[in-house]
């Protein structure tokens, strides 16, 4: 294939006479993973892999300042946070710069926007790059003004001498001045002097979103754009045996039916024409299906019957301590759906051998590589541009929709093609959060402390992201089908199925085993918090069971086993603000619960106290109020963090009370909001209070996922407190609660 190489916008601009001062015009360093090796020791955050300062910051002669991040705004608000960080360290007004997010032509390769890593990868890189750029500008000013650098200060985008002479950053910056590698250590500002960081600055993306501005990939409109819809198979592995494309191509507005093996799509001039044609095509397509799904009624047993690779990931022995009272319990989690409100969408255009894809993917570079493999094109001929979509909470249909759009656009050269999935497709075909089983066993010594702790977790991998075209449905379904890559357990310390499986508490004897299950009978991948959701639910539920056995207050019981001072602080803060008291008694039909975790045992700390009410007649449980305390290190935007934690509590409450993917022998049967109900306004708590413990100058810890596990366990513990019955199988449905009460 004669695929052309997409021109670098910077080169085009330079050719057009625009003054591009800060970018190298010859090397595509920003997107080139093979950049020269950074000096050792490595600079912090993503500077370690993209060390050039101008990969992150560009200053134009007209004082325009642009910040580049390889991360994608997913609705977490970090685009605003990054702008705050850069403004702070550069000493410019917040409004004086703009942030460009993930784009394979413009930004560094920062892999995936996932795992609550954006702040400590990209935020740290931007902070340090900004500080070092500021130092370079001061050095340049010192040279030009013939004064010592120490006699200069920066303010509002300029360097100012003691005699009042001022040079703006735009005047100071010279070609390639910022095309230097970052140093390992930066002269960062003293947090006590922060003006922009630590403030709750209104998010930059919200005004467009609340006024009907073009805010999402779904809103992209291009000249000549056609609308496509995919006809997905009715079930995993179904083979297309027959379909009548001719009759469909005669329908109003239909441009083309695209068939490639089991991949089937239709393109039309208008969106609803595409939907009509898709429905007609789906009705006339014939598929051969096979019953290959496990029995949903007995999912935990079905999972545990699959072959597993067993690994002891933590072991600690102290033979001088032994327990007297022992309990054990099994906890389960079903497959759960990301459930994005906006079905996945992408736009692609194939012109003169070059492909451009606009996608709400979490990883533009991995997606580009996967699409290149699928289309057998060089990656350099493909440009992936991130455009916001509906919240994804992990690996939903975004990458698949990007592949769909690319495959269809490839068959329709020249025209931009917009694909959006239907609700039923998103629900049936997204890669779900994996089902999991945990078995716990622990003994208490005579003093009521844990003497021995045993934890085993059975799980699939928690990431089937591309990594390879085979991770995407279009590539699996096309005639020259590409197989999904071999699943791998995600490495510790972050882990996947074993994320947060190792207890943060100090137990004299402990053993943690990860049973990694390679077979994936149901399509799965990364969902917010990965295994930490279920592992924290299990550990923190079991801690309450043990506290009950020890006849100890659950908060006191946790503190008895925890050394980490920052962990203790969030526990004490949440308990105090909740009004938690030893020996407390909730009003009738109400219950109090508590839970705590440090996400991944290395990111943000989060403790949550909950009050629930349970209707004993119906079994309905409602979260009445929740009080959270969070330590996320240095805070950039208190309101941004609060918004994340509030959202985590509400979303986790929905997962925990209602949600399970359903299926029969052959098909996924939870295909809309009726068959996969989630939390609605009638179940929203009366209030949620989030208390932030700021740690000025401490590393950003990342907090987008820290609330998922504690919220679940806190709720479960409150339900147990209200009913006297312990529920261990997620979700904690009305029926399960009612059955437990009646048992």
């Amino acid at each position: 294939m004669n695929a052309s190489v997409i021109l670098d916008r910077r080169k085009v601009l330079a050719g057009g006479g625009a003054l591009i001062v800060s970018f190298s015009l010859t090397s595509a360093f920003a997107q080139d993973q093979g950049a020269p090796a950074p000096p050792a020791p490595k600079p912090p955050g993503s500077l370690a892999t993209a060390p050039y300062l101008d990969s992150w910051i560009r200053i134009d002669a007209d004082n325009t300042i642009t910040i580049f991040t390889g991360k994608a705004e997913l609705g977490q608000g970090f685009k605003t946070a990054f702008q705050q960080i850069a403004a702070e360290e550069l000493d410019v007004a917040f409004d004086a710069l703009k942030v460009v997010t993930a784009d394979t032509k413009l930004t560094a390769n920062e892999g995936y926007t996932a795992g609550s890593n954006s702040m400590h990868n990209s935020g740290v890189a931007i902070q340090n790059a900004a500080a070092q750029v500021r130092a370079l500008l001061i050095a340049e000013a010192a040279k030009r003004l013939a004064v010592a650098a120490d006699d200069l200060r920066t303010e509002n985008g300029g360097v100012i001498a003691q005699d009042g002479r001022r040079l703006s950053y735009g005047e100071l910056v010279a070609e390639n001045m910022l095309h230097v590698q970052a140093q390992p250590v930066s002269d960062l500002k003293d947090p006590a002097t922060f003006k922009v960081m630590g403030q709750s600055i209104p998010r930059v993306d919200i005004p467009a979103k609340v006024t009907g501005g073009a805010a999402y990939v779904q809103d992209l409109r291009m000249p000549g754009m056609a609308h496509a819809r995919v006809v997905r198979p009715p079930s995993y592995g179904a083979q297309l045996t027959d379909c009548d494309a001719v009759v469909i191509e005669q329908m109003p507005g239909v441009v083309k039916v695209v068939r490639d093996g089991n991949f089937l799509a239709v393109v039309a001039e208008k969106e609803f024409q595409a939907i009509r044609a898709m429905q007609a095509l789906a009705a006339n397509a014939k598929w051969q299906e096979s019953a290959r799904l496990p029995k949903q009624d007995d999912l935990p047993a079905a999972l545990m019957a699959l072959p597993s690779q067993d690994k002891t990931i933590f072991e600690k022995n102290d033979t001088s301590v032994s327990g007297s009272k022992t309990i054990e319990a099994t906890y389960t989690r079903p497959y759960q759906s990301h459930g994005s409100i906006g079905p996945s969408c992408a736009v692609a255009q194939f012109v003169d051998g070059a492909m451009t894809v606009w996608s709400h993917t979490q990883g533009v570079y991995p997606d580009r590589a996967a699409i290149a493999e699928m289309l057998r094109m060089p990656a350099a001929s493909i440009r992936l541009i991130h455009v916001e979509g509906s919240g994804c909470y992990g690996h939903n249909g975004a990458d698949d929709a990007a592949a769909d759009a690319a495959l269809i656009a490839h068959a329709l050269p020249g025209r931009p093609v917009r694909v959006q999935w239907m609700r039923e497709q998103e629900h049936a075909w997204e890669p779900f959060g994996p089902a999991m089983v945990t078995k716990l066993k622990a003994s208490l010594d005579n003093g009521g402390k844990v003497a021995d702790w045993q934890f085993e977790v059975w799980s699939n991998t928690h990431s089937m992201r591309p990594g390879g075209a085979g991770a995407m449905l279009a590539a699996q379904h096309m005639a020259q089908s590409i197989k999904p890559p071999e699943p791998k357990p995600l490495p510790l310390p972050e882990g996947g199925g074993d994320r947060n499986a190792i207890p943060i508490y100090k137990f004299p004897n402990a053993r943690v085993v990860h049973h990694f299950i390679p077979d994936m009978p149901v399509r799965i991948s990364a969902m917010r918090a990965l295994g930490a959701y279920h592992n924290v639910f299990s550990i923190e539920s079991f801690m309450d069971e043990l506290a009950l056995l020890a006849n100890t207050d659950p908060v006191a019981f946790r503190l008895k086993h925890l050394d980490d001072p920052r962990g203790r602080d969030v526990i004490e803060k949440a308990a105090k603000e909740f009004g938690w008291q030893r020996g407390q008694q909730a009003p009738p039909n109400r219950g109090y619960g508590f839970a705590f975790a440090r996400y991944k045992n290395l990111a943000a700390y989060c403790a949550i106290a909950s009050e629930v009410e349970v209707n004993r007649e119906t079994g309905r449980a409602r979260l009445v109020r929740a009080v959270a305390a969070v330590d996320s290190g240095q805070i950039v935007s208190p309101d941004g963090l609060t918004n994340q934690i509030e959202g985590a509590i509400v979303q986790s409450t929905s997962w925990t009370l209602y949600e399970a993917v359903t299926f029969d022998d052959t098909r996924i049967t939870s295909i809309d909001w009726q068959t996969y109900p989630i939390l609605r306004f009638d179940a929203v708590p009366d209030r949620i209070d989030v208390h932030i413990i700021n740690r000025p100058g401490k590393p950003f810890l990342g907090s987008g996922e820290t609330g998922q596990g504690p919220a679940a366990a806190s709720l479960a513990n409150a339900i147990a407190n209200a009913t006297g019955k312990r529920l261990r199988n997620l979700p904690l449905t009305r029926k399960r609660i009612k059955d437990a009460i009646d048992a």
């Binding site: 009907g212 805010a215 959202g647 009726q674």
Partner: protein, 165 residues
């Protein structure tokens, strides 16, 4: 051709009469606010106001709308002159991804036009048909209450344009 009145203006629309309003708004009139969420009337993302009532545009065919007044979020205000409901959602930072928010705002607007000072319970009940996956519910409720206050201020202002500054 169907004549459709949207945000105070007549539009000649060339679409099949059974085309759901949502696609006419997005595809023919190039409006962004109403969103495709489910196409089944289950999530509320596509909500617009028709003759003062909140309507799910994804299940409302064009043929039913002749002679009616359709209002979308774009019709309430814009970034430089936001309507009270828009100002309220900005001030409360009542969005995460924000995909559901336009629909929420339109139903809230319809409620506030009917009930000037709704209680929390009324707001929750009214927003029952709407789903938010990010869990922004607490802020959405606060924003609707704030919008009610801002509308009072706007009503008192000399230029009663429904735009509070």
């Amino acid at each position: 051709m169907t004549t459709l009145k949207v945000n105070g203006r007549d539009h000649q629309v060339d679409a099949e009469p059974d085309t759901p309003l949502l696609y006419v708004l997005r595809d023919d009139l190039k409006l962004n606010a109403a969103k495709f969420g489910c196409g089944l009337g289950q999530c509320g993302s596509c909500t617009v106001i028709v003759d003062g009532k909140a309507v799910l545009s994804c299940v409302t065919p064009l043929v039913l709308l002749e002679g009616k007044q359709v209002t979308t979020l774009e019709g309430l205000g814009n970034v430089s002159a936001p309507a009270p409901i828009q100002r309220a959602f900005i001030e409360e930072q009542a969005a995460q991804c924000g995909y559901c928010i336009a629909g929420m705002m339109m139903r809230a607007q319809a409620l506030l036009q009917r009930v000037r000072h709704p209680t929390d319970e009324q707001i929750r009940a009214e927003l029952g048909p709407h789903l938010c996956r990010c869990g922004t519910h607490m802020r959405i409720i606060r924003a609707v209450k704030r919008a009610a206050q801002l509308m009072d201020t706007a009503a008192l202002a000399p230029t009663n344009q429904g735009i509070a500054r």
